[in-house]
Symmetry: C2
Subunit: 432 residues, 2 copies
């Protein structure tokens, strides 16, 4: 819908039809954990713009509960199933935008279709989760997967007074962080009261319990936090080129391998500016940037999306967690030799009461000193410092050049040497 807003601004004359399988448009899936945790008032708060707003203000013919079932590139037409009317229609197009998003990963395990096993993706999911939580008899929660959504949901349920067990099949939570930084987040989760179990995956789901690799865990409700995979089946079936993790391959203008067919959001690929390689990122901010670009191009303008540097941030159990660029594993996979630096510094002047602490990790390329990635775990004010690293990565800065960065300094905001600069100094190995 963000793309269509752009199209309409550029082209008053275009006829725009939008098919949506669900009932909602333009909502924030990222807000669902905060809804469940009680920090967002209602499901309606998560809706940026209703279908009716698009119809009225942007003259977009929004058809909800309509699922596109096939794309015919030769005939330039789509097959659509009207879900509530049990009928099928066919509609031609001059230009097509595929914005089918992502699907939460649902492992093929016994009982996965049990009604108490929930994804965290659609407002339908949100409705069901909220109904269970406010229903009152949900005491035991099992969260499967220790990524961003899994952790955010675990915290939300603890805030609701539930007992939460988090199952993570691998040896660490937050696979996008290096193990040493993930360890800091793990400690925060445990302090908050989440029963985190590493190397203990789910084996099957039953009423009232989950069988794990180590035993049985009581579960009134199960949340799947195993990440998102691109929803690209339609594109694949139409013969469009797919890329990383079967996401839809697009060029810099968000055009797919077929002329006049575009894609944006969780269903398509991005370029990672540090590795130079394609990557699949399922994040609202990337989706919005891609959509803006796709919309401008569909409307006859010219815009490109440069790519991502892999930034992500969250707040978990009072700890701010952020990362950007390449992790150690990713840097190694991309062929870099690098040095890692970890420092701890306060995010305010130390003489102010309760100055919060931040741990900052930087990866710098051997020889050139080019920044390759950064991770931050800390208290208040720590997380958004990742933006300086993301900007420096985009600019291709070396850690030595970063020492000179003229970052804002005043006692309530930073020590004289901002934690990012402290890290850059150490990383540069500059006579310190």
């Amino acid at each position: 819908m963000a793309a269509l807003s752009q199209v309409r601004k550029l082209r008053d004359d275009m006829e725009i039809v939008a098919f949506e399988r669900g009932r909602y448009t333009s909502y924030s899936a990222c807000g669902i954990p905060y809804l469940v945790g009680g920090e967002v008032e209602s499901i309606e708060s998560l809706i940026a713009r209703t279908p009716q707003v698009f119809r009225d203000r942007l003259r977009v013919d929004v058809r909800t509960r309509h699922e596109v079932t096939a794309i015919d590139l030769d005939d330039r037409a789509v097959e659509v199933r009207a879900l509530d009317q049990d009928r099928t229609l066919r509609m031609g197009f001059d230009q097509l935008l595929i914005a089918t998003g992502g699907n939460p990963v649902r492992p093929d395990l016994p009982g996965i279709d049990n009604p108490h096993v929930h994804g965290v993706q659609t407002l339908g999911d949100a409705e069901r989760l909220l109904a269970e939580v406010t229903g009152g008899d949900v005491r035991e929660i099992v969260v499967v997967g220790g990524g961003y959504i899994g952790l955010e949901m675990a915290e939300a349920f603890v805030r609701r007074g539930a007992h939460v067990t988090l199952l993570e099949a691998s040896t660490q939570i937050m696979a996008t962080l290096d193990p040493d930084m993930a360890e800091l987040v793990l400690a925060a989760l445990r302090r908050f009261g989440v029963d985190v179990r590493l190397q203990e995956g789910a084996k099957s789901f039953e009423d009232g319990q989950v069988q794990t690799e180590a035993g049985v865990v009581p579960a009134d409700l199960v949340v799947l936090g195993l990440g998102v995979q691109p929803n690209s089946a339609l594109a694949r079936d139409a013969g469009l080129t797919l890329g990383v993790r079967d996401s839809i391959r697009v060029d810099r203008r968000q055009q797919t391998s077929a002329s006049g067919v575009w894609s944006a959001g969780d269903c398509c690929e991005s370029i990672h500016l540090v590795s130079g390689r394609p990557i699949h990122v399922a994040l609202g901010t990337v989706a919005n940037k891609q959509s803006r670009v796709a919309g401008i191009n569909i409307g006859g303008g010219y815009a490109t999306f440069g790519g991502v540097v892999g930034t992500a941030i969250t707040k978990i159990c009072n700890v701010e967690v952020a990362r950007t660029g390449l992790s150690e594993r990713e840097a190694t996979e991309a062929g870099f030799l690098f040095q890692s630096t970890v420092i701890e510094a306060s995010t305010r002047a130390r003489y102010l009461a309760d100055a919060p602490l931040a741990t900052v990790k930087l990866l710098a390329e051997q020889g050139t000193g080019r920044l390759l990635g950064g991770q931050i775990v800390g208290e208040e004010g720590a997380g958004k410092r990742i933006d300086v690293l993301a900007t420096a990565l985009t600019a291709g800065m070396t850690v030595r050049a970063m020492i000179d960065l003229d970052l804002g300094y005043a006692p309530p905001f930073s020590p004289v040497w901002d934690p990012v600069l402290v890290a850059a100094r150490v990383a540069a190995g500059a006579a310190v």
Copy 2:
């Protein structure tokens, strides 16, 4: 002292002597308003390292209450007055660092030497201010000057329960902001209860009152917040080249016009990376960077200081205020044609309760779209976003390139489009 730490790390053999006119070394002048406001426990908290620590750990012969009165470049020696012993000594040097800092501007007005008229610079100032505040009968405060220190002191005294009148001779407070952004800060000050008077300078100081251009204001205590001028008289008298506002001219290694004579801190010049011109900046963070560079070079290493982009930040009466790069006036003076953009956006997802707001202003060069400067005034989370702009300025980014910046997004930290990105979008005039 920051420079000497570097020297000692590189050179175990050097004999290092430090002369300091006052009683303290390595303290945070920036912390004084927070001490007066009651947010810092004691004067001792503002001391990073005492002279004794330097003597014991770094083998620096620190001589407090010793004032250098002359530099003899031909003889490579300094004349020093031992203030407590009323005697003079002469000491030769191989290398000399001039780190004489800045002096608060004291206008030549009747009564300026009244003991109730205070600067805000040394820990001596801090002691006197604290004694007056905790003495108990200080009800009426006059702050002269509407810059960072003046505003911070005004807030501190209001927090102490005093009535504060702020006199600003010009038409706006915060001369480093554009008038429209300064207006937002003015409103916050007035909401907080500060009696701000524009175009009303002080004329004379008397016991219990200040004569202004408009009348008489009661004043148990007067604080001067008129900025800092470089303390470069010693350097000038020695024949060293001075630059902007009589600050000491230095090269990229912080060397003055005399070989082996170095300078760092509020007494010397910096290069502004946007205008390409020399500038005088009196800020602890710049002083520390310059000192690190000077120390490495004195120790026989090689380091350079790239320059500043003019970043400053403060928190005034619950409003965060930050600026970087060139203001409209500065951009015009530097010969730029530019376009200004002002947007308002929230610093968190809007569906979270009490999402704070930020006003972001960007200046972009006409034609190229290069970012020239930015200003931010807003609520929680607004101010430190200036660091993204400072980093983008250092990298020479265009506002169009900034749209793609992969900034951290999660509901507690940002809307999907971070306020900085919203501003960049509008500034780029990109089909929006």
